[in-house]
């Protein structure tokens, strides 16, 4: 084997090893979710076992069902995404195109808000929500999620709106279309890609959020990321159930991630070029 071919196959082996390392914890959780408690605790770890759906049956339809928590996660994420997009699209358009007073300051403010450590703002948020009785409610959590999703979405969308050629709007204006109608009929079709990227990221961030959820949720509204803790206590870990819940919590975001793979890579790259982005 020539030195070149040797180097190439060595490179391939190293990168394959890293691929395996990235996939393994996820695959292992999936495998464990189909095991019995005994099979999970077997030593050495079992690759071959009689698969069972018992863990899923327990966490979905048992006494401590995780379904309400999955529903909470979904309502929070979908609600956050819908409200965010409804406000961010016109706001980003305005920032990209119109003469808005304080436009430069707004741009800076939006970027700066992405840098705030969440733990620094969680205390005032907690106190405010407590005072208006919105702790442990959907409207409370969604309202707080807007505080990070909205600046992020506006910031991401502005670049897409700026890329739309001005001539298109001018033509629409000559035809007598109102600004809002121009936005809806002429601009929106041009920025579909950007909207898709933004929706994916806002939904993912809302689904994955943890710190705000831990502090602001309660017994009524508890997303799955927080509810997962029910299966791990000081006394004992319910291994099989925890595996099933982990997989159920991963499933929606992995499905979204795989379906929107192109959008995610694009969103990350734009972020890297322009700077910013949460998480």
């Amino acid at each position: 084997m020539s030195a070149r071919a040797l180097r190439r196959s060595l490179g391939a082996a190293v990168s394959l090893a890293f691929m395996a390392a990235w996939a393994f914890p996820i695959l292992w959780s999936v495998l464990n979710s189909f095991k019995t408690e005994q099979d999970i605790l077997a030593f050495p770890p079992k690759l071959l076992f009689a698969p069972t759906l018992a863990a899923y049956r327990d966490v979905l339809f048992g006494s401590a069902s995780i379904l309400p928590n999955l529903w909470s996660s979904f309502v929070i994420s979908a609600g956050t995404t819908i409200v965010t997009m409804a406000v961010a699209i016109p706001a980003a358009y305005a920032l990209a195109r119109l003469r808005v007073p304080g436009k430069r300051f707004a741009g800076f403010y939006i970027l700066a808000s992405q840098m705030l450590p969440p733990v620094g703002i969680i205390i005032p948020y907690f106190l405010i929500l407590r005072n208006i009785g919105w702790l442990d409610t959907y409207q409370g959590i969604i309202l707080i999620y807007l505080s990070f999703s909205l600046p992020f979405a506006i910031w991401l969308l502005v670049s897409y709106f700026e890329d739309v050629p001005l001539e298109m709007e001018e033509a629409a204006a000559l035809d007598g279309a109102s600004p809002l109608k121009t936005l809806w009929r002429v601009i929106m079709p041009q920025v579909q890609g950007g909207i898709a990227v933004t929706v994916v990221f806002v939904f993912l961030n809302a689904w994955n959020e943890f710190l705000f959820a831990v502090v602001l949720s309660g017994n009524t509204v508890r997303p799955v990321t927080v509810a997962m803790f029910n299966f791990v206590s000081v006394e004992q870990t319910l291994w099989a159930k925890l595996a099933a819940v982990s997989v159920l919590a991963m499933l929606p975001v992995i499905a979204l991630g795989v379906a929107a793979q192109k959008h995610i890579v694009k969103g990350l790259t734009i972020g890297a070029v322009k700077g910013g982005g949460r998480r």
Partner: protein
Amino acid sequence: MPYLDGYVGVANYLELLGDGRFWSSLAVSLIYTATTVVLQVVIGLALALLVMEMKRGEALFRFVAILPVVLSPAVVGMVWRTFMLAPEFGVVDYLAISAGLGSRNWLGDPTLALVSVIVIHTWQWTPFAFMVLLASLTALPEDIYEAARLDRANAWARFRRITLPLLRPAIVMVVIMRTMVALTAFAAIFTVTGGGPGTATEILNLYAYRKSFTELSMGYGSALAVALLALTVAISLVLFLVRRAR
């Protein structure tokens, strides 16, 4: 004026200066941030270069790389804490036993716990650096490399003289973004160690949280959070200056 009730001036900040736990959490924050960011960028860049060289399989790599990035850090932390790192039942511990190192208490030993949370963060976010740098690499102009090859520049010279300078803006941006995230990381440490054992993995963020919501002294917790904010702003200022400097 009721809103001034219990106003203590700068007392919380004075207390901060003499608080050993504050300084140790600051140190943990800096170690955690520096090591995870360096590891992410170095591994991410190396993998991106390797994958660029490969004739096929790039699509598979992109697919796998998406997986950790879209997951919730809380779920990632939980999976690592149990199925990967638990003594004897965890796969990492099994590998350690098989390698003759013996069973270790990965999250109970102060040093190992810090290493573990650093590895977990690096595991989850290196694909991010990898994807961004791979995209930037693919966008580099091919003709410069042709010219370099004609000049018989070897692979290392091409990397040092062409790839690295052209990639610099992307690398600096990745460093900035990942630093912000590492400084304010919370869920993956909270779920894995809760800051323990003792305060071995207690980053500033987690200390502020514990103070505010576990020990219920929100005033002091807020002062800690402001300290973290100041640290974040200071570090990002430095990084943005680096970005501007040529």
